[in-house]
């Protein structure tokens, strides 16, 4: 079957099997390997992307279900070579180690800040509770999102403190 979806602002039309998972479509068909997969049961969240401006686990969505819809992946966070404040926060606050969970974490964090610009640490933890990290113990991820929140509010990126 033929599907058309807009990914990171670019329209793509492809012939796919109905059973093709969105994560595989993004990674294998479109070469957008920034989103990852890490489980079989929709638990780990390494695959989180935006589907119509909402974070979803793309391993649990068929590419066919995204037909006619808009998808946004980590590759779209930086604009014009400029990192998104969420990405900057992760860099400043050591929010990543192996980097495998990071794209999914950042996509959810970006959505969270778009809707709740000043989340408390507990809210950040709750928002990320469906996504696993094996390296960081989550603390620096929370600090990274707080950094992004504070720096977006103040419109500055010079203060390095986490």
């Amino acid at each position: 079957m033929q599907i058309t979806m807009t990914v990171n602002g670019v329209s793509h039309t492809r012939e796919v099997e109905a059973r093709l998972l969105l994560i595989h479509f993004l990674r294998d068909d479109l070469g957008l390997t920034g989103s990852h997969w890490g489980c079989d049961t929709s638990n780990c969240g390494a695959c989180v992307v935006w589907l119509d401006e909402t974070p979803v686990k793309s391993c649990t969505v068929l590419a066919a279900m995204a037909d006619g819809r808009r998808v946004r992946t980590v590759e779209d966070l930086a604009r014009g070579g400029q990192l998104d404040p969420v990405q900057q926060g992760f860099a400043e606050c050591h929010g990543l180690q192996c980097g495998f969970c990071t794209p999914g974490m950042m996509m959810t964090a970006r959505w969270l800040l778009d809707h709740h610009p000043d989340p408390a640490a507990e809210e950040i933890r709750e928002a990320l509770s469906g996504q696993l990290c094996r390296c960081t113990g989550y603390e620096n991820i929370v600090r990274s999102v707080r950094w992004a929140s504070e720096h977006e509010a103040a419109g500055r990126d010079d203060d390095r403190s986490c």
């Binding site: 059973r19 079989d40 929709s42 979803v56 686990k57 068929l62 509770s129």
Partner: protein, 307 residues
């Protein structure tokens, strides 16, 4: 990652169209809503439908409406929408409580209320929450619709009364002023299926001499082998009983006695039976704290009430 077997796919443009597709493709066709129950089963190849009928475009099935006497929830309402609904929470805090602990925030963005109920997992939280509220299920078929009380909706693990040519379209709950409700769940980590969970809804008569009595009660249980996801004997006992800790303790005993939990890696049967009692009691206490006696005025408690 595991991947599904080959499957055909159709996109429905309306409820009528979806029903027509179901009729055309027969009993091996499955409705695809959020897919967060069905697609994991397909990836593990525990479910191998021949055709998927995608209803995600049916915005007419996604709504939360309060009429004069009902809360009506469209089956395609996403879990996140039910969680975020202040209206739903105002009338039935149990739904907000339950949605808070169903799956995780990202899964809730796409999984649907109807999809979860139709998946009919014996540990489904919404099955217990709607059972406590004695909701009514609206099922569409080519000849029209029919309604089924939620307690008659599930016929066994992963089985419901929704026939091969039918679609669940709506869940209705009768509005009754003054009620309080709450949900209590034990899981092993955030997002886990319940090891045991209970939800209660109470309506009170203002007390005569000794405090309020219970006008009506609904108790839903999940993951503990409760018949029809409910504790009917405990409810019968509570009706007319004083709203006291003693009554709740007795209700907990009755709820536990009516369950047939199964030992598994989540816990042994005796623990689950204990949870049936303990969580029934706790949910009753919190429901009470949110309730207002009949004739006392004021709405049922909002989710942040103490209790």
């Amino acid at each position: 990652m595991q991947v599904p077997a080959y499957v055909e796919y159709e996109k429905a443009s309306s409820v009528a169209h979806a029903l027509a597709l179901l009729a055309r493709f027969g009993p091996e066709a499955r409705i695809l809503a959020g897919g967060h129950s069905l697609i994991p089963m397909m990836k593990l190849r525990l479910a191998q439908p021949e055709t998927l009928i995608d209803i995600n475009g049916l915005s007419e099935l996604s709504y939360l409406t309060v009429t004069r006497d009902e809360l009506r929830i469209g089956a395609l309402t996403r879990h996140a929408q039910l969680l975020d609904s202040a209206e739903a929470a105002r009338h039935f805090a149990i739904l907000h409580d339950a949605e808070q602990v169903i799956a995780d925030p990202v899964v809730r963005n796409w999984g649907t209320v109807g999809g979860s109920l139709c998946q009919a997992d014996p540990s489904e939280d919404l099955s217990a929450a709607f059972a406590a509220l004695k909701a009514t299920m609206v099922i569409a078929h080519r000849g029209g619709t029919r309604t089924v009380p939620v307690r008659d909706f599930h016929t066994g693990p992963y089985e419901t009364v929704v026939g091969p040519g039918e679609i669940l379209t709506e869940i209705r709950i009768a509005l009754r002023p003054g009620g309080g409700s709450a949900y209590e769940k034990v899981g092993r980590r955030a997002g886990d299926w319940p090891v045991g969970a209970a939800g209660s809804a109470l309506w009170l008569d203002s007390g005569r001499l000794h405090g309020p009595t219970i006008a009506d009660a609904g108790i839903g249980l999940t993951a503990v082998g409760a018949p029809r996801f409910a504790a009917a004997e405990a409810e019968d006992f509570l009706r007319g009983a004083p709203a006291t800790q003693e009554s709740f303790a007795r209700a907990g005993e009755l709820a536990a006695a009516s369950c047939r939990p199964v030992s598994d890696q989540r816990g042994p049967a005796d623990y689950k039976r204990h949870l049936a009692s303990e969580l029934t009691i706790r949910s009753l206490r919190r429901a009470l704290a949110r309730a207002r006696p009949h004739g006392g005025g004021g709405p049922g408690g909002a989710p942040r009430d103490a209790g």
